[in-house]
Amino acid sequence: MDSMYYGDVLIVDLDAGTTEQVDFEEADSTGPGLAAGLALYRKHLDAEPLVFGSGLFAGTPVPGACLGFVLARSPLSGEPAVAPLSLFAGAEMKLSGFSMVVVKGRSSKPVYLWLHDGVADIHDASALEGKDTWETTDAIRREMGESMIQVISAGPAGEAGSKLASISINYWGSGDTAALAAVMGGKLLKAVALRGLGMLDADEPEEFYTKAVELLAGARKDKGFRSICEAIGAPDIDAWLKPLTHRVRSCFACPSACSTFVKYNEAPSVLESSDVVEPGMLVTSAAASLWLMQGGWEAEPACRAMEAMAREGVDMVRGARELAAKPLAGGDEIAAAVKSLEGSQGAGWPAGEQMNYGLFGAWVPPLANADAWLAANRVGYVLGICPTYLMLSGLDAGSLFELCAPAAGVELEVDRIADMFG
């Protein structure tokens, strides 16, 4: 199973400061994506592994094929937990040349990983120590000379080992509700930077591409961010953000634009690039928005609070839940409040406290019952398809599984998926 880079595993030993590319011989039996990630996690359990990976279709034209993952033992639960790598990070994870990356041990100094075109480099990150996620992203992109590099980083919250720490993707929140950024911080792994210009091989390229495009054409049209708001019973969020909305944005290969870019440092109607370096932020979390809206926050300070949480590398949903009770207005006040967040609240979404999401956490409010959400996550993380998109689009899982053979010469069945997580 050489197609889709499947089977190429990078072992990073931070104790020794070395990298090694190895064949993952068990790949055929474990299954792809997170199933392989879990097997690697168990295999290297003694070294407190932090596993980065991508699903089988990530980086391809299959609709919603944006998903990668980070897997480690959560400091919150002591159990293995997963954070999604969406936006363009999951696809770039695959294009960087590695399906899976296992980070073992702890570095003696801050470092970041630079994964590019199948090459793995460990770079000194001493100069990034204490930097927020925006500064970190800018610094790495500047150093490597390209603005499309995807940067998965731990902000100051992760470096401090905060229970609220959450992995960031470039400047934005990731949906890490398990404090995996604190695991990165504990290893002195400040960031993982990704870029690749390669092309993914498919076993039967023309068949794979044709079927992927057919799937896209047949997928239900949804309204992106608005669909999520409606699905969680809070359509008002969209109207609340509307005065600040500049554009909507989707993740890699996804027809559903479920993130909203808001501007509050210049007029949202300004389309061309201006002198304002940071005109606003990308709202990636309907749940965080909902907490703040329900707490009585005005949209603009709420967005500023989300920006502050993104910069700190804080779990935006739990942070918003903690902030919700005390609406603020001033920028300095907000920044101070974000820095003093304690992580005193439980799971990000109230329903998450009652429902057993297993590995996956409550990174979006439930779009259906827990069983359906679990099933969508399992399929999504194996195949590299965003589970939110899976649920909103009504994509038929059977059709997706039919793509496995032309993609990588593997036969997968829906019924087998739950066993992979056994």
Binding site: G17, T18, H116, D117, H123, G145, E146
Partner: protein, 461 residues
């Protein structure tokens, strides 16, 4: 190697036409010197597909030295004809003419074709009168272009060479193409025209191909119908004997790797010349291979900082150097890709360079690195010093590319940095390909008997 390129390389036509070179492999010199743009790299694809690995990448200095006495073919691609002619001078022209008279083959595409047209009587081109043909696309006062303004004109004395169509055109056989299989397939032979000449060839027997049409995969600085009228029926490729040798002048880039049928046309012309070169065939294979390898004391690492890398302990030195080359080529092409998003071009001499050219050079090394890695994995010998120099060289390219991008992004003049980077890339790519072809030649020599028996179906003799 990427999709379309990989598909083209797999075209079965190459297997058939490589037979012309199996009995004795010609020694090929590819011009990469002053005035050469990036397009000479395309020759390496064609030669590789034809199984010709005795290839050296030479400059005007080599031509003015003794390099042509060690070559059977001289291939000159696109670029700045004025710079080529100026740097080679009358002495270079004499060397090339003597090379052809003695039985060599000269193939010029685009600028390499303009260079050798006898109809061009203008210094510094006058001494390069290798083939009786003239340029049609010349005008004292060309109309304003509808697109591609930066590609449209080049000064030509008191007049201008202009390019009415830029991109894919179609070829029909001329009288000299009698028996050429390239024209046997259905439809016209498609080929790319990137500023090459539209020719007027007085002797019809010397016309290998005419322009027969344009396609939708072309841009039209002139209105399409007018451009079509100008080129259709005019000559695209001229071929003639000169002494014992052959001269080919081609407006389009027959060697472009995405055009297999166009490649076949060129391969047939080379093959026919080679098959009647009995004396040269007897001499083939006795060249001094060291002539193609850059001197060991060439310093291409000046100013390059040490790489910030981590390499697993216990890795063999060849693997370390190859990994460093891979690392730096990857770093540089990632920056190069970023540059392609920026609205910038650079004029070097008479030639306009786009940022895309940076990555084109880098891809030639990138696509061939797996071969070197496979050699290392099989513990076959690799020249360590050369690999280390290449690694340092590509490290320098990464630094230059980042500096260039910073300059462009900050709106500063980046001409000097672009010149420096592109010059370095051209030298380094020639050096990399020299090493690559030398190693492939070694492999070929070791496997020659079985290759001949397997592929040609006759004993090696």
């Amino acid at each position: 190697m990427k999709g379309r390129l990989k598909k083209a390389a797999g075209d079965p036509a190459y297997q058939q036409h490589k037979r012309a070179f199996l009995a004795a492999f010609p020694r090929v010199a590819v011009y990469t010197g002053e005035g050469a743009s990036h397009s000479w790299i395309w020759f390496s694809d064609l030669l590789e597909r034809l199984g010709i690995f005795d290839v050296r990448f030479i400059t005007e200095v080599d031509i003015l030295g003794d390099a042509l006495s060690q070559a059977d073919f001289l291939l000159v691609g696109g670029g700045d004809t004025y710079a080529m002619a100026s740097s080679l001078g009358a002495e270079g022209a004499d060397r090339i003419k003597q090379f052809v008279r003695d039985g060599g083959l000269y193939h010029g595409s685009c600028a390499g074709a303009y260079l050798v047209l006898a109809g061009v009587d203008l210094e510094p081109f006058t001494p390069f009168d290798l083939i009786d043909a003239d340029i049609v696309n010349v005008m004292a006062d060309p109309p304003a272009p509808e697109c591609l303004e930066h590609k449209y004109l080049a000064p030509y004395g008191d007049t201008w060479v202009f390019h009415p169509v830029y991109g894919e055109v179609e070829l029909a056989p001329g009288p000299a193409a009698d028996g050429y299989s390239a024209f046997n397939g259905s439809g016209a032979v498609a080929t790319p025209l990137f500023g090459g000449p539209v020719l007027e060839v007085p002797d019809a027997r010397c016309v290998l191909a005419d322009y027969s049409g344009v396609t939708d995969r072309a841009a039209f600085p002139w209105p399409r119908d007018r451009a079509q009228r100008l080129i259709e029926g005019r000559q695209a490729v001229a071929i003639d004997r000169m002494g014992e040798g052959t001269v080919i002048a081609s407006g389009p880039h027959l060697e472009h790797p995405l055009f297999p049928r166009s490649n076949v046309l060129m391969a047939e012309a080379l093959g026919r010349h080679w098959q009647r070169s009995a004396t040269r065939q007897r001499n083939a294979g006795v060249l001094d291979r060291s002539a193609g390898v850059p001197p060991a004391d060439t310093n291409i690492s000046a100013g390059v900082p040490p790489a910030d890398t981590n390499i697993s302990a216990g890795v063999p030195p060849a693997d370390v150097s190859l990994l460093e080359i891979k690392r730096q080529v990857s770093n540089a092409r990632i920056v190069g890709f970023g540059l392609e998003k920026l609205p910038v071009t650079w004029r070097i001499g008479l030639k306009v360079w786009e940022p895309e050219k940076i990555r084109m050079f880098l891809e030639y090394a990138w696509d061939r690195l797996p071969y070197l890695e496979a050699r290392a994995a099989r513990a076959l010998p690799l020249p360590m010093a050369e690999l280390e120099q290449l690694a340092c060289g590509y490290g320098g390219v990464t630094v230059l590319a980042k500096t260039l991008k910073l300059k462009v992004e900050s709106g500063q003049d980046s001409q000097a940095e672009a010149l420096s980077l592109l010059t370095r890339l051209k030298e380094l790519t020639a050096r990399f390909l020299s090493l690559y072809f030398a190693l492939r030649l070694e492999d070929q020599a070791e496997g020659a008997r079985s290759t001949l028996e397997d592929e040609a179906g006759w004993p090696a003799g």
